[in-house]
Amino acid sequence: MRWYRINALMLKYYYITINRLDRIFDMLYWPLIGLLIWGFTSYFIMDLTKESQVLNIFLGGAILWTFYQRASQDMGNYILEDFWSRNLYNLLSTPVEPQEIILSAVLFGLIRSVITFGLLALLGAVLYSFNIFGAGIFVVLLFSLALLLLGWVFGIFVTGLIFRYGVKIQVFAWSFAFLIQPFSAVFYPLSSTPLWLQKISLVFPTTHAFEGMRYAFATGKIAWNSLFFAFFLDAILLIVMYYFFLHCFKQARKVGIIAKME
């Protein structure tokens, strides 16, 4: 692994971002739309229920969900740019290693996420007097990181699938990241869902992250067990998906899909 190659790839992602309007859009515009919709919805429900936690639950949930979702798509989007361009042939003839591709996408994604997060936090405060750090800066950052990690895990998974089965699989692949939303207790506490669903939900790190966030908002305390499970599950998935990706990459070199990539 060499830093200068990781830098080179990040430079490419930077060029893609400034040259391609949609990459700026999904960093700024879509998260903003989400914030507006959930902000007004929260205010409306708050009026109806006089329940002050509504804003925290919905807006906090929406911001963090956006965070996770962007992380999962960013990674694929940047790596996919090479598939779309049939550039993989040239890219993989360089000394670049698959680990460097992943790491550069993760680092660049982190920068993007921080920008998006900053924007949402700021606008949330200005528009709805919502303080995302109301649950404590430390807690918010940790749970955000847990969500980011899962986003990257999905990104790695999808990228692996695409290496192995080609670009055709991408439509199917992207929906994975969304599929887990109903099981993640994003906008409602886990205890409000049926028992069978709770059992499934506990498998996903997202559930623990959102539960932990709500707990922190409500009590101002850190739910250590949520934090532990979120990171523990993330770590397991990360390791599994990383090896899955390396396997796909190896397989792709064997069957020649990279060279034939259209």
Partner: protein, 311 residues
């Protein structure tokens, strides 16, 4: 010194029911500073060889050394001194020519990158494309950008797979000259595949003929042409036939490939027959106005191999 040695290289592709051999025990070596051509009909295995050398594809069996190193073990060292160019590949379309070259230069760890980029754009005469996005370029323009990318790290070994397909004759000629000059100056080892015989003949020091995953012949263009024993002869006569020209020629048991009333084309294997045939025609009272003996071209060799005919 050999820049590349390949021995007993085999590669199969698994399809649902059976195993397809793309390469069968291929062995050859490329000398340092040589322009080496891989020739063969579609599906012969040329691209497979290039892709295995560049690390895009894994081999099943065989030993490869590039610049005296095993590319699987000293991957980084080998790849840093190597580069590829293929007409069917592409660069990141949304990036400009310069941005693409910059990213590739950095991936190869090139020093003085600005200078290098300017120099390459200049020798390929595409300085005006510098700030254009790659996806709007024409095929011919992209190929030249890809060649710039191929030379960005001043590689010791350059693998070119059909890199001049899609260039108009004038630009193709120019591009060949640029490559040849560059190679002479820098001593670059180049492996080159192409279907264009004139190109290969002009450029390559040696050629390997591949067919169905096996190497049939290796040699200089001249040596390969000599392998064809037959020559083609065309004889024209004046006026109306009094006796069939074709039937006279056929008495000598040669293979007639084409004939008209006043013209015949046939193949001979030695030089002894020709004077006899000419004598016979004159004896029959026919008046010869032109005799044309055509030496085999590389294309003839290629076509014969591709059709599975004897040389």
């Amino acid at each position: 010194m050999d820049a590349i040695t390949i021995s007993n290289l085999s590669k199969t592709y698994q399809s649902r029911s059976k195993v397809n051999y793309a390469l069968k025990n291929v062995s050859f070596s490329v000398r340092e500073g040589e322009m080496f051509g891989l020739l063969g009909p579609n599906g012969a295995g040329k691209t497979t060889i290039i892709n295995i050398l560049s690390g895009l594809l894994t081999k099943d069996k065989g030993i490869i050394t590039i610049l005296s190193k095993d590319p699987e073990i000293e991957k980084e060292a080998v790849k840093n001194q190597m580069n590829v160019g293929a007409a069917y590949s592409f660069l990141t379309g949304i990036l400009t020519v310069e941005q693409n070259l910059r990213v590739y230069g950095k991936l190869y760890g090139v020093k003085d990158l600005d200078q290098r980029i300017s120099h390459l754009l200049k020798i390929f005469e595409i300085e005006d494309l510098r700030h254009k996005k790659v996806f709007i370029l024409s095929t011919g323009q992209i190929i030249r950008v890809i060649l710039c990318k191929g030379l960005i790290n001043n590689p010791k070994v350059l693998l070119l797979d059909e890199c001049t397909v899609g260039l108009d004759p004038d630009i193709a000629q120019k591009t060949r000259k640029i490559l040849k000059d560059y190679q002479k100056e820098q001593g670059t080892t180049i492996v080159f595949t192409s279907h264009n015989m004139t190109e290969v003949e002009q450029l390559c020091d040696r050629i390997a003929f591949l067919h169905k995953g096996e190497i049939l012949m290796i040699g200089t263009p001249k040596e390969l042409r000599k392998r064809i024993k037959t020559q083609s002869v065309k004889i024209d006569i004046i006026g109306e036939k009094r006796k069939s020209l074709r039937s006279i020629v056929e008495r000598f048991k040669v293979k007639v490939t084409e004939s008209k009333l006043n013209m015949v084309i046939f193949e001979i294997r030695g030089e002894v027959e020709l004077p006899k045939i000419i004598n016979a025609i004159i004896k029959e009272g026919l008046e010869i106005i032109d005799i044309n003996v055509r030496k085999p071209s590389l294309e003839d060799v290629f076509l014969k191999i591709a059709r599975g005919e004897q040389l």
